[in-house]
Symmetry: C2
Amino acid sequence: MKYIGKSVNRVDGIKKVTGELKYVDDMKLPKMLYADVKRSPYPHAKLLKVDTSKAEALPGVKAVITGKDVPNRVGLYLEDKTFLATDKVRYRGEAIAAVAAETKEIAKMAIDLIDVEYEELPVVSNAVEALKPDAPLVHPDLGEYHYGPIFFPEPGTNISNHYRVRKGDVEKAFEEAEHIVENSFFVPHIQHSPIENHSAIAQMDRDGSLTIWSSCQSPYAVRKALSVAFDLPLNKIRVLSPAVGGGFGGKAGTTLEGIIIPLAKKLRGRPIKLTYSREDEFVNSFVRQGMHATIKTGVDKDGKIIGVKNNFVWDGGAYTEYGVNIVRAGGYSSSGPYDIPNLWTDSICVYTNHPVGGPYRGFGMSEIHFAIEQNIDLLAEKLGIDPVDIRRINGLKPGGSNATGEIIEQCGLLECLEDVAKNIEWGKRNPPSKTNKVRGKGIACGFKAPSMPNDVASAAIIKLNEDGTAHLLVSGQDIGQGSDTALTQIAAEALSIPPHKITIKTGDTDHTPYEWQTVASRITYCSGNAIINACEDAKEQLFELAQLALGIYKRDLVLVDGYVASKIYPDKKIAIKDLALGLSLPDGSGIHGPIIGRGSFIPPNVRNTDKFTGQGEKPVAFWTYGTQGVEIEIDKETGKVDVLKVASCFDVGKVINPNLIEGQVEGGIIQGIGSAIFEELVIENGIVKNPSFVDYKIPTADDMPEMIVNFVENPEETGPFGARGVAEPCMVPTAPAIANAVYDAIGVRIKSLPITAEKILKAIKEKEKNS
Amino acid sequence: MKYIGKSVNRVDGIKKVTGELKYVDDMKLPKMLYADVKRSPYPHAKLLKVDTSKAEALPGVKAVITGKDVPNRVGLYLEDKTFLATDKVRYRGEAIAAVAAETKEIAKMAIDLIDVEYEELPVVSNAVEALKPDAPLVHPDLGEYHYGPIFFPEPGTNISNHYRVRKGDVEKAFEEAEHIVENSFFVPHIQHSPIENHSAIAQMDRDGSLTIWSSCQSPYAVRKALSVAFDLPLNKIRVLSPAVGGGFGGKAGTTLEGIIIPLAKKLRGRPIKLTYSREDEFVNSFVRQGMHATIKTGVDKDGKIIGVKNNFVWDGGAYTEYGVNIVRAGGYSSSGPYDIPNLWTDSICVYTNHPVGGPYRGFGMSEIHFAIEQNIDLLAEKLGIDPVDIRRINGLKPGGSNATGEIIEQCGLLECLEDVAKNIEWGKRNPPSKTNKVRGKGIACGFKAPSMPNDVASAAIIKLNEDGTAHLLVSGQDIGQGSDTALTQIAAEALSIPPHKITIKTGDTDHTPYEWQTVASRITYCSGNAIINACEDAKEQLFELAQLALGIYKRDLVLVDGYVASKIYPDKKIAIKDLALGLSLPDGSGIHGPIIGRGSFIPPNVRNTDKFTGQGEKPVAFWTYGTQGVEIEIDKETGKVDVLKVASCFDVGKVINPNLIEGQVEGGIIQGIGSAIFEELVIENGIVKNPSFVDYKIPTADDMPEMIVNFVENPEETGPFGARGVAEPCMVPTAPAIANAVYDAIGVRIKSLPITAEKILKAIKEKEKNS
């Protein structure tokens, strides 16, 4: 292949490094107003009074809105919220009212003038407690909401979705087991911490058409949510996402857009901007849900796992947004990348009075693997088997079956495992750098599939220019991951045009075609396939013309370096540029006209499944498997963990761009390290205590380990040129591998994230006390 | 039909009447600079020195450019110019240098500091004189230029194109003729006078990609010209035309864009704006070419014209731009709408040192019909035949043949003639309103075809939304004529979706698909056909899905009111919205995905023709025929002409939108009245003497006559729903009808436009003196 597998420079590189790319908050439109939001100081309270009269009277204030102005219930999968609270607030920071004013300062003053009376309600601050029969209800009116087809909320409880897997007979397996281990794990809430905060501008013209500029991952999903919320037809809403400075899932949904639109409706013709503060990012956008896991595992005498019972309780926060789908993914992935014949899983999403859970790189996989991969090590220790060996025994292989009973046809997991074992020098113990330090190694596997429940579709348009260049229109967003470049390469390969001759356009629902969402590591796969289909459509048209121009049957033609050429006589050819506007026949009549290829793609998920048991389901298009091994060093005096080296290997089917995929995996590893040893949103009685980078630590350049980033290329038969996604999977094994290495180093197992110096020091001291 | 033929409100109406629509000059981009242009005070001169050093030193000046910065020759059909003069200037006002500065005022000061030394050259100020062998040459290097395929410049002369028609034996016809009349006519230069002056902004990003916002009719034509001029691939140039405040042909080409781009190249990342003054509009954009016509006509005793010899000499100005194609159109249309068995035409485009001739509503047809339609009346008078009768005798009928020998299959000319004769009450003489006034009636026919020589192609994309609404993407520009509305109606009819559910997007070469140019009354026809093809493509996909969803064969399906329904059992149906993102099959697998229709169109012109004789050519896709009759009143004391009433009838094939087409024809009539009695660019020795609305008069509301606007609907078989264009034809007969009415009123014939009060008074006095 000519352009696939090459490290083509980022197509957005120059604009990004020169600062020329304009993000939403860089935009200043004529007559623009600024919005601010009145937020609840209580995690759970009835709204008794919302008096905006003083704010409305403040000079410079142009409009004030409350929940009454935004009555429609919205939600991506389950319509459980309004953009502004109406009767009550369900988390601290929930929006109650908003203003638009001539300056940010006036907007802020007006917010302070809004008078709200609350009646505090008991706070639901623990997901497990929230399942008890007498727990206060966050959504007493749950039964009244509108649900999507695959979610099963339980009215009268705090359960917004309960996903079940019932495979084989797990109780019988436990009876037959040689050993049974049971362990509990906890993963706290963390935040995405993108460089760019959320920002959006809304403008409604006097003819009722609405334009939104938003730093969002998924303009089409935002358009749909706004259409529901504001009763607007889709052709009257234009969502533009000019640039996104990091998403990681946090910009996948609809957030602040819903607050500024009712202001824009009141102030026709004037653009209104709202940009989140960093504190808003931590508290009022989305967070990664906390999760409590209990895993009970039965194993035979050879180390083969014969039964697993999982209980995953997810802290979905005040509104479900993506939460209900994350627990579904956590459920159908609950075997981990292992062949478990008998599996019972309850994966439960619970309402609490916490910040709203949203998608976060990994979509639940990092959380469940933190539990699964430590449990495997605990099992190995109990059996006296090497951690790599127990994975060799139980790891999924072609012919094996996963949680939902799907027979796995192709799986490179063990290849990845062997590669990582070699590169991390498994079994070799290196001396620590100082005497007060100790070293350890850990290994973990992982897998992930794109979770795409319904409405999932992609489209692409390729527009050929009369000089042989082209424009590629898609709505997959480059949120930093490099999709603009990878997708351009896919079109280049499909059309035999060099990437620099193709300009990719994204993020404009009026112009760029449908894309469900930029989430789930799915863009290379889904948008890539749509692009190939679009290029095939263009190619078919080119061949129709070329067969007339060259007098050669279509079946004997091929695209080569910008030409349609004969397969047999390569010198017989005609340039794409000479066909791009159609063809004039010898009699002077033209045929066809400008060539535009259009392509669509729906992933081949088969869903004829027992919804409640999960049996027989193939809920996903493909799985990405991989392994990471780490070497760490712990300072026994301070408890500080230093990650020295990470070896990574994933089966990505086909590497589209080596430089970009390496960068992507390195980013995933660093984010994995962050979640492993630094990051936690500390929430006490519904209140986030550390909503700033002063108190919430993320890794910096100093924390970068040596990284060996490898790939296996077993082609995904349904993928573009064999590729599958790796954006999320690459951070999944990092935290459990570190946890396993910590155990290897100091002999204590930390079962809750993050593995802070404090926890380690405490564990070392307890161990010393007990020994 | 449900949406065709209905007076749907203008889709851009609210934005236009509220002032919300932003034109280019309304735009103010961050860090924008302002350009100004150094222009030649001489119509013809060598450039001896261009010293920009003082301008460059002026604080606030960011860049200064001269011809050296823009060396590539450009031109739509004939590459005879550079955007800034290099060796010499060929008209007064030609651009020599340009600056970009922080303010308009500084830019103006800098221009004054540019020191240019000239050596004046003899001025070519009359097209007929310019044909003489010893005339100075405007382009001595004519042989070196690059020509398109259908133009025949004559190096060593001032002829930029000489189009010949040689049909039958015209000399023999003259020998056999009962009567021969020969007359000469003159049509002066006029200007388009759009409400909005030309304006453009250019910005080149640091990665070399160029964005142009331009008030242009034809973004794709501008893109191509700029690609040639600046050696940029088409995928690196984005031309946006956000709104156009009137074009009439004047914004069809590339003008000021070429001046600001070299500035933008020097000042990467900074937008540069240039907006023409009204004086620039008159002198430095395009003008309608002046034209000298001589027509010799032989007629038999029954009033049947048997031979015509035409000599049309067009004053193309300093550069050809569209001129060479206008003379071609003037040539192949030189029979007028009459069946002339023997025809000899020389239609010659001549370089002069006048402002550059560009397209103007009618593309030469108003000019030649001013001559043809008076000549017919002169003939009628000579023969003692009524003017309506002579047109009945000679007017084209099905089976007749036009100038190039094309056999006319279908032609509603005589229907139009009868309708107008009735409505203008032909033969009835109404009393004048006062005793010092006289009344007269005149009639004229006309025809026009879209002139589309090569590269002519259109494309459309229709993108279906998941709520059953749609986006229509085309690049035909709504320049006031209402195409956004008409094209939306065409898509609505083709897809059975109401127009308000379709949002049309135009004018963005990165996003909206190819359109050759918005000229030649071709958008409804060409873009309309591309839209129908795009809708057919979408429909085919909808039917593919619906046949599976409904279990009904495609051939038995039909689109009805947003549903795909069974032809036989109308209740069996599925909504477009439920198919728009594809279809999930019963086994859960999805097929197809988002529905995008793409359509293209090349007009069915056949061009296998003797290029020099024009014989056998069918150079056009269709002809639009029509007639107008006028009643006027002349004040014998002042000479002032008052147009009281105009009756108009055109065969438009199919009326798409009654309100819009009536408005369009009324506008054409008023513009025809302007050219008939008010408008003339007075040029003396190469210098325009009246470049302002103080000295150049156009009609105002006071000059509006009573108008009866009718249509005949003989469907154009290749047109969308039978439609053909009428934007230009509708002003073609107005001026000759007025000239004929003037003769009817006062018995003197004014053979040069405009028919001013001065000319009439002089003619009345001369007539009185002679009688």
